[in-house]
Amino acid sequence: MNFILNRKLRISLIRKRESRKIIKIITPIISLIVAFFISVGIFSLAGVPPLTTIRVVIFGAFGSFHNFSETIVKMIPLLLTGLSVTLAFKVRFFNIGAEGQLIFGAITASGIALFLPNIFPDIPRIVLLPILILAGMIGGAVWILIPVLLKSYYRVSEVITTIMLNYVSILFMQYLYDGPWKDQHGWGFPGSARFVESALMPRFFGTRIHFTIILALGIAILLYWLLRNSRLGYEISVIGLNERAAQYAGMNTKKKLIIVVMLSGSIAGLAGVGEVSGVHCRLFEGLIAGYGFTATSIAWLARLNPLAVIPVAFFIAALSLGGDQLQIQLALPVSAVQIFIGIILLIILAGDFFLRYSIKISERE
């Protein structure tokens, strides 16, 4: 690739040879440290002593058992949406709409949680929860069905449709909890009524860590196995790498694409179930947290490896909780927190880039 600066100079990108494994591991760590110091530097310009920033962030994420457990809670939706995006990327489907699928999954699950107990008042948790989970996963899958059908039959770019459907699902959810599903005893707060006990995910160790974490870790391992060792995984890699060759091999590429992408949507939908049934116990505004976009960064940082998504999601969750503490304890504005996370992601991605390319500036003749 070439960029021409002016009549004299030209910048070209040169692909490097495959780096050694040790360098691949060290690079993101060094990038992280550099990024950390840059952000701390920026905060010290705002009058916060560097050591304070570091202490607050680290304490916020890992400082106590409670804080650590909250990091895990935050990690669950990030892990699931990260896996969802990873799977879709494998068939070259750019799912930027994990947030929309998460919310739609939350909506369908909430529908079950709010109304099924009215019909069957004594329904036990062991029956209700699986129905809830299934409903949420189907919700996520249905929500992504629209973009994938548009893509495979009319070649509409999924990047646009998945993003747009995020807003549709957010507005639909707001309509529901402000209108028909509004909590009658909620003193006007926007949100649905609290779910009945049997519609809530079991939690562990007296924290808010809920059962979904086990499902999420299980899905990560399952996906890793599926992509490497199964017939479907083989088909996914062929379709993702060379669709024409997949057709040549007699694969029904449209059908396979739709199936895989719906799986991806259902994983994001499960994240929505976890949020409403495990954390908030109701459908409400707190679900809108930009998970879809963060999930895209997570998937890339993990190099589309489902197992690597686990630590990356954990790391991003820690950053975001640490960042929250900057806001709470040091009274830094929300934008400062976003700057903090933004700088770190940017520098890690830059480190990743320079691992693969070098830049050469040469004189033009």
Partner: protein, 510 residues
């Protein structure tokens, strides 16, 4: 005329000294010296990967050499880009043309020509084109859109483009591979006119016949090194072949007479449209018997691609029947074609036949991965896949012999061996071989042709589609000539006459 030429030869037009180019540790050019005289037609001969294209891309500014010097008319120059190259009068016609399909010939010629004023008088340019075209026998309509042109015509546009930018050294990469025999004659005539005017011509080729037909001098490269520069009149075909390959090669493959059996594939009144909605095959009737190779001769773009696509289920015909082993294909999909036992060596192995980012073994099972032995109960059986791949790697001498290596690091010849191994091993009734030796070197070509012949002797039915007329003549039992989607004639290979086939390929009914 001859004496004039010798005088011209005393002027060196261009000289390359000690050129080295390294691609990730592989020396594509290793200390090559090369020079061209004014008015000389110089053939650059070598196998695939010998470094011919690399050397010429360095001369035309596409690549920068790691080391070495270039002199134009005795003056040392630095060629940093194709634009600097054309400023020095060097232009190259690449194997894949660099024309814009949706623009007219005139606009393609204007495009990127910085010597012109910002305000372009198109009428004037059209007149210039007509003059140059007439002078060199490069007949083409300046107002036609490039997508309407045949490959031969597109090549003429490329030549016009260079001439109108003042090129004195013209480089051609495998120029005749897209031409009919008649077009080749016309092209050579153009080259002769150009050289008589003092322009230097370099042709990259691996066809020995061409060297003797047109070249004043030939330089042979092998594995990045220059082997020799000789005058064709001083050597024989076998000398050149030996220098090119480094060992004696069999130039003529002998095909034993075959005894065709019952018909395996029958096409009845097949008509089909291409992607542009134009009729690509019109009422085609063909049959291929067991132990028979049916060759399809034709200039590319006359319906060959669509023919293969219909049989392989990529394309549904408007009308007509495809019958395999007595059963009519009803649903046209690649999956059903595979179930009916159609094997296919596609024309672009990297785009269709292989997945470069996957390993050899994962490419070898591309057709058969559904079978129980490879993926029983939905789980890949890595042991069986490994053993199966090892077996094929040994039978077909695939290098490297490690099934876990990625296809993209293989040479073109070895990639084609992977396709061949897969398509011939999988259970099938008929094999469609499309340009099976395209872009392969002499040894690779020989291997592929030998395998096709063996396959036929073992009772296989093969539909051979190739632009290489020699290949068609050498391998086929019968030859069908296709022109604009119609079968002109089907002849027995034994009493086939290359002249009359060439005429039919150009649309002249014999």
């Amino acid at each position: 005329m001859l004496s004039e030429k010798i005088v011209e030869f005393e002027n060196i037009a261009c000289e390359m000294k000690g050129i080295v180019k390294d691609f990730y540790g592989a020396k594509a050019n290793d200390d090559i010296n090369f020079s061209v005289m004014r008015g000389e037609i110089h053939a650059l001969l070598g196998e695939n990967g010998a470094g011919k294209s690399t050397l010429m891309k360095i001369l035309s500014g596409v690549y920068a050499a790691d080391r070495g010097e270039i002199f134009i008319n005795g003056e040392q120059v630095k060629i940093a880009s194709p634009r600097t190259a054309i400023d020095y009068g060097i232009g190259m016609v690449h194997q894949h043309f660099s024309l814009v399909d949706v623009l007219t010939v005139t606009n393609n010629i204007i495009l990127g020509d910085n010597s012109r004023d910002a305000w372009i008088n198109e009428k004037k340019v059209i007149n210039e084109i007509k003059n140059v075209a007439e002078k060199y026998g490069l007949n083409v309509n300046p107002n036609a859109y490039v997508w309407q042109l045949s490959l031969g015509e597109q090549q003429r546009v490329e030549i016009l483009k260079l001439l109108m930018r003042g090129a004195d050294i013209l480089i051609f990469d495998e120029p005749t591979s897209v031409l009919t025999p008649q077009e080749v004659e016309g092209f050579f005539e153009t080259l002769r006119i150009l050289s008589s005017e003092g322009k230097s011509i370099i042709i990259i080729t691996h066809k020995l016949n061409e060297v003797f037909n047109i070249a004043d001098k030939v330089t042979i490269l092998r594995k990045g090194k220059k082997i020799a520069s000789v005058y064709p009149k001083d050597v024989t075909k076998h000398d050149l072949a030996k220098m090119m390959v480094g060992k004696e090669v069999i130039l003529d493959i002998h095909k034993p007479k075959s005894n065709p059996g019952k018909p395996i594939l029958i096409l009845e009144n097949i008509s089909v449209k291409n992607d542009r909605g134009i009729l690509a095959l019109n009422n085609v009737n063909l049959d291929i018997k067991s132990s028979e190779i049916l060759g399809i001769a034709g200039v590319s773009g006359n319906g060959q691609t669509e023919l293969a696509e219909v049989i392989y289920g990529f394309r549904t015909p408007l009308s007509g029947k495809v019958i395999i082993n007595g059963n009519e294909i009803e649903k046209f999909s690649t999956h059903s074609a595979i179930t009916f036992g159609v094997s296919h060596i596609p024309e672009d192995r990297i785009g269709t036949g292989l997945i470069p980012q996957l390993s050899i073994k994962n490419n070898l099972i591309l057709k058969d991965y559904r079978q129980k032995r490879f993926s029983g109960r939905g789980t890949l059986n890595s042991k069986n896949i490994y053993e199966y791949s090892m077996n094929l790697i040994n039978t077909y001498n695939i290098e490297p012999s490690n099934p876990d290596k990625l296809i993209m690091i293989l040479s073109g010849g070895n990639q084609q061996k992977v396709v061949l191994a897969r398509e011939m091993t999988t259970d099938h009734n008929i094999l469609i071989a499309m340009h099976p030796t395209f872009g392969l070197d002499v040894a690779g070509t020989e291997f592929v042709r030998q395998k096709l012949i063996e396959h036929c002797s073992d009772g296989g039915a093969i539909l051979l589609i190739s632009e290489d007329l020699d290949e068609i003549m050498q391998l086929s039992d019968r030859i069908a000539i296709i022109y604009q989607g119609e079968i002109q004639d089907i002849v027995d290979a034994q009493d086939a006459n290359i002249e009359s086939i060439g005429l039919m390929m150009a649309g002249e009914k014999a």
